[in-house]
């Protein structure tokens, strides 16, 4: 389990780096933006909000930098991410907690669909090399290069404004259904999630297809594949032998991709006004809600690290070599 312990060390280190960076950015920026922020909000916010801000950004406090850093850690470990400026007195934690299930549901389902579908298409493209499937590659390159939110805008324009098949915004129909575990609410949620999910799948699938195709082509050179074909195994068996081994780098590449997919999904949410973390982030940017901005950064980082860890466990399960004691 050397590999797992190395990975877990990496994730813990990354989390520490993220938290430290988050602490220092407001303090290191030229011209002390913490003061500028305070100046900007002084007029509108209540006394408590300003006091909370001063504490968070280390203004007008007698504690030294190290003491502030320790205080910051102690707040974090108690689950205290600070207070939102825009929706005072709501805590940053509670705002994120409301938004998180929407994002996790959307991104989780879309990513799984994209991975499975993309891998299958990649296998097909490698096996049928030299047919029309090769023509998919340049088209895929466009979808990979075009920003997620542009694909989202096109999807809204086509499927919701022009054709009227799906609702263009929000997470569920707020006027007719009651949130809760009931039929109408769930079907409304599904209806509203369809278009964002399709967008994320379309924008992220290219990477899986291209990666799997290239790995498949390399794997098909292996002797055991040639032997299998020479022995007269039906071709779907041969493909499955090759595909199983070609899959490993895709799973390993998952950790690279997840950060991109999550970032893209956040932008997609903005186009659809989907009530997840991405939309919350957008409102935080628009209203200069710095504590909320920083809280979202930390939560996204932690979520990405957890997803990475899960991918590592799957990898260790699939590839016995990583489980060997060195």
């Amino acid at each position: 389990m050397r590999m797992m312990s190395r990975r877990i060390t990496l994730y813990i280190l990354t989390a520490i780096v993220a938290i430290t960076v988050n602490f220092f950015i407001p303090r290191l920026m030229p011209g002390n933006p913490a003061l500028a922020v305070l100046g900007r909000v002084q007029a509108q916010e209540s006394k408590q909000a300003i006091a909370a801000l001063e504490l968070q950004y280390g203004v007008q406090t007698k504690t030294g930098l190290w003491g502030q850093y320790m205080q910051y850690w102690s707040h974090l470990l108690h689950g205290n991410l600070g207070t939102s400026l825009n929706s005072y007195p709501a805590s940053v934690g509670s705002l994120i907690r409301d938004a998180l299930p929407w994002t996790i549901g959307l991104v989780g389902v879309a990513t799984v669909i994209s991975f499975v579908l993309g891998t299958l298409l990649g296998v097909a493209a490698a096996w049928r090399r030299g047919t029309w499937l090769d023509g998919l590659l340049p088209a895929m390159a466009f979808f990979q290069a075009a920003p997620y939110f542009f694909v989202a805008i096109l999807a809204v324009a086509l499927f919701s404004t022009k054709l009227g098949w799906f609702p263009p915004n929000s997470g569920y129909d707020t006027t007719t259904v009651n949130p809760g575990f009931n039929g109408p609410f769930l079907s409304s949620v599904l209806d509203h999630a369809m278009l964002p999910a399709v967008t994320i799948v379309l924008a992220s699938i290219a990477g899986w297809i291209i990666g799997m195709r290239n790995m498949m082509i390399t794997t098909m050179d292996e002797d055991y594949v040639l032997l299998g074909a020479a022995k007269g195994l039906p071709s779907h068996r041969v493909v499955s032998y090759a595909a199983r081994n070609a899959l490993l780098p895709s799973v390993a590449g998952f950790s690279l991709a997840i950060g991109f997919i999550v970032s893209g999904a956040l932008l997609t949410e903005i186009v659809f006004s989907y009530p997840g973390v991405g939309y919350l982030l957008f409102t935080a940017i628009g209203s200069d809600d710095y504590p909320l901005l920083q809280g979202i950064f930390l939560i996204i980082t932690l979520a990405v690290l957890l997803a990475n860890l899960a991918a590592d466990f799957v990898y260790a399960f699939l590839d016995p070599r990583t489980r060997q004691e060195a």
Binding site: R129, T131, A141, I153, P168, N214, L281, F297, V304
Partner: protein, 317 residues
């Protein structure tokens, strides 16, 4: 070089990149209007494309074509700077880590891995958020900041290649002659890594375009600083895609431009990959035309790992 140019992917990719490169240089000079001025008094509804305004106008009657031409320079400049800076960092860290090994490798690899798993966009949002959006941003500074989050991928690949290069005879002989480490790295190893460096550069330029467009779309970078992302920001905030009369001329051009620029670079990348590893080529581009393959009695499509190759001696005859 001529072999490179035979690949249609390379040719198309090169053409797209050159067109966009030219656009960045002369685009702002060609713009018929200032991107900020209102060109018509009928405020409120965007006008569809017409002879006077080839790509129509925005809600406040700014000329979309002018915005596209002016915004292109900033977008392409930021992404090129990001690509260059990230590639320099990747070469610096990747080759050093691969060449020296041991603790230097451990440390630098750990650093690269941290940057790989750290979600870049949210981090950049926090950084740019605190830099303030009131000031007129400098494109070079933006590019360098984006590069800080984008070098790790290239560094990892360069490290792996350097690792395999380190044990070769020519490196050993250079060591025996007494060449300095920095000389071996820059003059012996680096020239052999050119394709990897090129791929890393193209990859980070694509990353730069996407990230810069995303940041300006979010409004973290001043929304009066024209780029393709800013155009999309204004189109989205006016709900151009949700209007009954679809205002496509407003949001399609900037998005398409970002997509095409990225596609051009990605095609170049595919082309280089195929140049280095010819197996990745599709049947149609393997350098053998269908007619010639049939005459030689080869299957049209490559099967399993067997790629049809013609004997160069027979090919000449």
């Amino acid at each position: 070089m001529r072999r490179l140019l035979r690949s249609p992917k390379i040719v198309v990719g090169l053409c797209l990149s050159v067109v966009f490169g030219l656009l960045a240089i002369i685009g702002p000079l060609l713009a018929p209007y200032s991107p900020n001025t209102s060109v018509s008094t009928t405020n409120g509804t965007p006008l569809p494309p017409s002879a006077a305004h080839l790509l129509g106008t925005t809600q406040v009657q700014q000329d979309v074509l002018s915005q596209l031409l002016v915004g292109g320079r900033s977008t392409i400049l930021v992404s090129l700077v990001a690509g260059l800076a990230a590639t320099v960092l990747a070469v610096l860290f990747g080759v050093t880590a691969g060449y020296f090994g041991s603790w230097a490798d451990d440390g630098l690899s750990m650093l690269a891995n941290i940057f790989l798993v750290l979600p870049a966009l949210p981090l950049l949002i926090v950084i740019f958020g605190f830099m303030g959006k009131g000031t007129n941003p400098n494109d070079v500074v933006i590019g360098v900041i984006i590069a800080i989050t984008g070098w790790a991928f290239g560094a990892r690949q360069l490290r792996a290649q350097t690792l395999s290069m380190r044990a070769r005879d020519f490196v050993d002989s250079a060591k025996v002659i007494g060449e300095k480490s920095w000389r071996i790295m820059t003059f012996e190893i680096l020239p052999n890594l050119i394709p990897v460096v090129a791929t890393a550069f193209l990859f980070t330029v694509i990353y730069g375009v996407g990230t810069y467009t995303a940041l300006s779309f979010l409004g973290v970078i001043s929304t009066s600083h024209w780029s393709w992302g800013t155009m999309l920001y204004w189109a989205q905030s006016a709900q151009a895609a949700q209007q009954v009369h679809l205002e496509w001329w407003w949001f399609v051009p900037p998005g398409l431009a970002v997509g095409l620029f990225g596609t051009g670079l990605a095609l170049l990348n595919f082309g280089i990959d195929e140049f280095v590893n010819p197996r990745l080529r599709g049947g149609g581009t393997s350098g053998i035309s269908g007619r010639r393959a049939r005459r030689a009695g080869l299957p049209r499509r490559p099967q399993l790992g067997l790629t049809p190759v013609l004997d160069p001696a027979r090919r000449a005859s």
